[in-house]
Assembly symmetry: D2
Homo-oligomer: 355 residues x 4
């Protein structure tokens, strides 16, 4: 008899939801995609073609889907605004949860997911910080953890998207929580990972411009943002995000330690091809984050499955996701007000500069 497989449902079959569905269907041997939900007709049509023939039942009602017989885990990849609600429902229905980042653009709502999860300690509830599953980031972290760069002290990290001339991200801005919550949330999470999840923020300051999309202003957002976070204990994180990269997507991280430096993706590549042309030597880079992180998403699916099936601890704690949103929201506040925000050593907001 074959070992049993985790019965998984995916909620949301948009761009990333469809990918999650296919990862669980085809690239996660120990999982079985038994159900999928979408409120959207086009997404359901896609599901009929790509999922249903392989045994996945489609639902247009999330609550109905939760009742799918034998369902054990739910992957939430809907719009951010319903992440938390769906996650809490799933937890209450006793399902493991893998929820796309962020849990919510609100700190309080994010926290409510963590609180719900605490009531069901036997469940695995994971926030999908995909970079935590990327082999390069993992390699970098292991080296840091082994002390190879001394004490990590300065963390510089960016999430830069290829310019989308359609300006889609302007309309999207009203739901995204802003560039620091939407893009840099990954970098913030990485900072907490590399500096230690118990790092306490001392100050937050954000800066931004609208270089290509002035309309972002109306949502208090920018298309290029720089954020600096000081942590108690003598550490600094510097974040950059942009919506106007010409060559493609470019995430990049540098961890500067007292004895060395590690960088991840300082030199992005699409593949191993280099072109010598009359204009010089050229290489292409991935246009979108999925071209960069496809493998990380597949690892995520497999490890989440393994944790559920074998009752192993998740690779990182859910509470960190709230911490990341908290920092992201503070950066957005700083961006909006132009002010630097201060926190004492217990993490409490204070009015005065902390030296």
């Amino acid at each position: 008899m074959a070992p049993r497989r985790l019965k998984v449902a995916v909620s949301g079959l948009g761009r990333m939801g469809a990918r999650h569905a296919l990862h669980f269907l085809n690239r996660t041997p120990r999982a079985e995609l038994v159900a999928a939900f979408s409120p959207d007709e086009k997404e359901i049509a896609w599901g009929k073609q790509h999922l249903e023939p392989y045994g996945t039942k489609l639902y247009t009602n999330y609550d109905e889907m939760l009742k799918h017989e034998g369902l054990e885990a739910v992957v939430i990849a809907t719009v951010t605004t319903v992440h938390a609600e769906q996650a809490i429902k799933a937890i209450n229905a006793d399902k493991h949860v893998l929820c796309e980042k962020p849990l919510s653009t609100s700190v309080e709502i994010s926290q409510s997911v963590v609180d719900a999860a605490k009531t069901k300690p036997h469940l695995k509830v994971l926030c999908g910080f995909s970079r935590r599953f990327d082999p390069s980031y993992r390699d970098a972290w292991s080296r840091c953890d082994a002390g190879s760069i001394g004490r990590p002290s300065v963390f510089r990290s960016q999430t830069c998207d290829k310019l989308d001339p359609s300006g889609f991200f302007v309309a999207y801005a009203q739901f995204s929580g802003g560039i620091f919550v939407d893009c840099n949330i990954h970098d913030i999470d990485l900072a907490l990972w590399f500096f230690g999840q118990d790092s306490v923020v001392k100050s937050v300051a954000a800066f931004g411009i609208t270089a290509v999309q002035p309309d972002l202003r109306k949502y208090g957002d920018v298309d290029n943002g720089v954020g600096v976070v000081e942590f108690w204990g003598g550490r600094i994180a510097c974040f950059y995000s942009s919506r106007m990269m010409a060559a493609g997507q470019h995430d990049m991280t540098e961890v500067v330690g007292t004895e060395g430096k590690i960088s991840v993706n300082a030199n992005p590549i699409k593949n191993l091809v280099e072109l010598s042309e009359p204009t010089g030597i050229r290489r292409e880079i991935p246009p979108h984050y999925y071209g960069r992180f496809e493998q990380a998403f597949v690892v995520e699916a497999n490890e989440f499955t393994e944790c559920c099936l074998d009752d192993k601890p998740l690779p990182f704690k859910l509470a960190g996701a709230v911490q990341a949103v908290k920092i992201g929201c503070a950066l957005q506040e700083s961006l909006r007000t132009g002010k630097k925000l201060w926190f004492d050593e217990t993490g409490r907001r204070v009015e005065h500069a902390q030296l």
Copy 2:
């Protein structure tokens, strides 16, 4: 009802056979690994642990395995010496075949597989030149094919292995067919792909040394080989193979055209991590070919499966595998005798220099 999946068996569960088995078991959604064969006790033990629980039946007799009910395709990953025999048996048993390279180290035996395949035109018989499935090589080829470098004229390609201090490859040399057949067979196949499968060899010359393993001499082999192949029509291919790379595996290809150059893997990387240390800036590279080509093998498994199920043409013809072995054997002969070998425009061996 779920679409049907191809019933596949793997023959040989050694290093590469085990990988093929896992690829078909876990990473080839449209295939089903129904059977596996190995004459080796340890390999069978491995199969009992990693395959049998998932529904794969294990055989210690190849002929018995071929009779497995419903079996449609066989992946041959045993020692090279039995590739051809097993491939022909499978063909005769009306199975599709994916055979590891080379078909044989002998041109005649390789040809016999092609001849057998011709008798069953409905079968898909593929020689596993994994680089043909590598995204970087495919990208390079598409660009060449689109004319972006003008006429490909000089082809330089290498297959260099990390030094294995155990000297395993010395013992292996007596079966491998020699360094040009074992390592450069990939580069030869690539040359034929990029120059055109109908390219006719004009001359062949090979050179070699035993820099680290003098014992290779007794098998007429070397640990560093340079081979040059001239093709009629004004094209040159230059191959390099080595068994003593310090940093890891390094395959590399350069296609020089009249209007540009494309290189593949000129700068090998293990991942996207770079280390700044007191000794400078450093990156690691994959130790072995599987670290470099894992994804290509998975694509190979999926495309082979698709061709079998949907009766699509294979991405390249089996006959090319014979051509590659023929060139590889000519290089080995040139290496042994020190002589340059000549061929006329019909590909027939001649005694005198062709100008």
Copy 3:
């Protein structure tokens, strides 16, 4: 008759003064090093060996040197604290001046040099921002100027020194003006070059830690600094400086425009050598800024000479040097107080956030 050569004196024969002296002696065909001054016995001893035999007269009194017959130009490379005084004296004595950066760590004193220069418009008075003469920076600037990246919008630049375990820079900190004035002054100057010399600062915020040299605290300095400068008109500059690079000196600049990005020295190299070793692939980088900018200093010497001899306009205005120091000092103030500083559109310091 050979064309006449500019009669030059160098003031200060310390590390950089000695280099300037040799550049004017040996690598500036149109100049003649007629005199050199140092108050330091060891430096004079060095001069006796390396300069005097070639016709350079040595002085231990700066004022005396200024009276050297026929002297036309002075290169000031003494300690920063006397830059301004010596520059003004030279101007008053009707000499052209090439003064090492910064003119002073004080804005007022820097301005006094500019004021002095204004009284003698026929003199060439240049502040030695060496990167302005670096071929890579010049190439980058020309491309930006030609519009190849659209509108330069985000400027990221760093000056990072190799860790000097002797801790020399701690003692040095009391005179250096602090890390933003000492190291990032170059990056600030570059920002003004790439964004336009007339750019008006909107806000300044600085952050820093002492990761390796806690003693820097007593001088209000840090060993790792991050500074962010917003300019009116929607531009941001982000600076990083560090005293603890393991691999060597690393200056780096990225100019992000609305249609492309240009980077300078993202991948530092000492030379064109790459090493493949059991630990991977490695290259070395220059240990110090002179290894990186030697050629720029030589170009500087030659262009300064040409401007003096041929009465050509200098490549950039002296006033910019005050602007750079002003921004550097504002960053230092922000670092010390933890506060973000604000400026209105006329550049006047204001109390409240400008949005």
Copy 4:
């Protein structure tokens, strides 16, 4: 009194001669360019503008120039066909000689220069293998010499020129000695440097095509050449030369040792600028060899001067230049005849394969 300077004359003021002249005039502090010769009116006109005003006397008669009072050294940069004749005349006139490579395209004539030099052991006679003065090649050699890659065993080196659509090199081919003597002479010289000047050739084989300039055939030349040289003692050198690089000049060398590999210029760059554009990430490379080796030529001028003035031994022996031409000519013969040439352990040409 200033230390005396070497009185130098340059013969030939063509492209490279003019550069040599300027190097000795402006960038070689211990030398003085007292004279220059050219039979060409245009070159003399150039000299009148760029040299004469600085005290260099121009000659249209080489023999007259040799009689210039006080002349100590001659730099020969005329067409290859008169290199040897002029070098011998200069030696006989008791002048030090720096002669551009090759001494001659004929082995015998090259040897006659060496013979002449032997009669005047007090003279410095140097063949201008510029790469011997390149900092990267020197760094690579020092590392090899220090044993850092074990025993150098395989040497791969290329000299590839940017495609010159004017086809100048076709007319030039009748004097150049052929691509192996003209381009790869540098690589051959490097092989002898890295393998040891006493290395004895065992076999030589060359291959070539005319991919862009079929007219080269009439001079027995090619526009892409591959040459393989086996040395006694188990070493192989593999050379590549091309006249059709799209992106620019690209020389490159790899030294593969038993314990590591060193490469020089595997990734050519024009400067430290990288461009991110909609088409990807791009860098430019130097269009011509002077862009790559300018600094090496300057070092060459300075070291030659130093050897003459201080009677120091030259960095390498003149005899090696004959050895390099000998190998280059053998490669040309192999190219013409299609035959592999054999040599015994004493370097004597033999008919039969040496195993």
